[in-house]
Assembly symmetry: C2
Homo-oligomer: 128 residues x 2
């Protein structure tokens, strides 16, 4: 079984963590995603953490775990913290193969998505 582990930063604001969990559910619902499960995990401030997220995937039968960082820039979290946590998890679960994908901010379509959003308007701030 193949799992996608979506790693977000995590927030003190629970609604933000919930947005990530709902995003993972939408990803799981995508036809032809190629993954048997999509599990959300958080670097800090929310549960499950990365190690527990990997353990969840393994408990549900995953032997391939593809990790996608839900981050916009390559700071210390993406470059160092996430790989370190994954290396620890890999050592604890030698039966699973863990692979890391590039973070969201690298996707070439981000520019087009932002231009698409620019066509949508919320109430003007000067009208508030």
């Amino acid at each position: 079984m193949k799992a996608l582990l979506l790693i977000a930063h995590g927030s003190r604001r629970e609604a933000s963590n919930q947005e990530v969990r709902e995003l993972a559910q939408r990803m799981a619902g995508h036809a032809g995603s190629g993954f048997d499960m999509v599990v959300p995990a958080f670097l800090e401030l929310a549960q499950p953490g990365i190690g527990e997220g990997v353990a969840q995937c393994v408990r549900q039968g995953a032997r391939e775990i593809q990790v996608v960082p839900y981050f916009l820039s390559a700071g210390r979290h993406v470059a160092q913290d996430i790989p370190e946590e994954l290396a620890r998890a890999a050592a604890e679960h030698p039966q699973a193969r863990i692979s890391l994908s590039p973070y969201l901010g690298t996707h070439p379509e981000i520019a087009a998505l932002l231009l698409g959003l620019a066509g949508k308007r919320m109430p003007a701030p000067d009208a508030a």
Copy 2:
């Protein structure tokens, strides 16, 4: 003239800020974007700030400024700080019409982009 103002959080890590500036350049280069300029600005930790970003757009002749928050979740920054800064900027530049778009994390295509990234692999963390 129409400007798109791309607002990112800003980072102590200058390379992250530079990623945002390069993204704004790529957006400006998109054929048929409908904008005469794309200007990056930062909520904190980097320059230009939001007020200065709006001022740059106005100096370059923009009378319509569409603001897109480069944020993944609707925390205090998106819900409160950015609208407040824009309201101040709008008061200083009554000749410009400033509109606010939804933040990046709301885009329905994000799920598909993340699934696309899941097909790309970086060196496995357990191979490091």
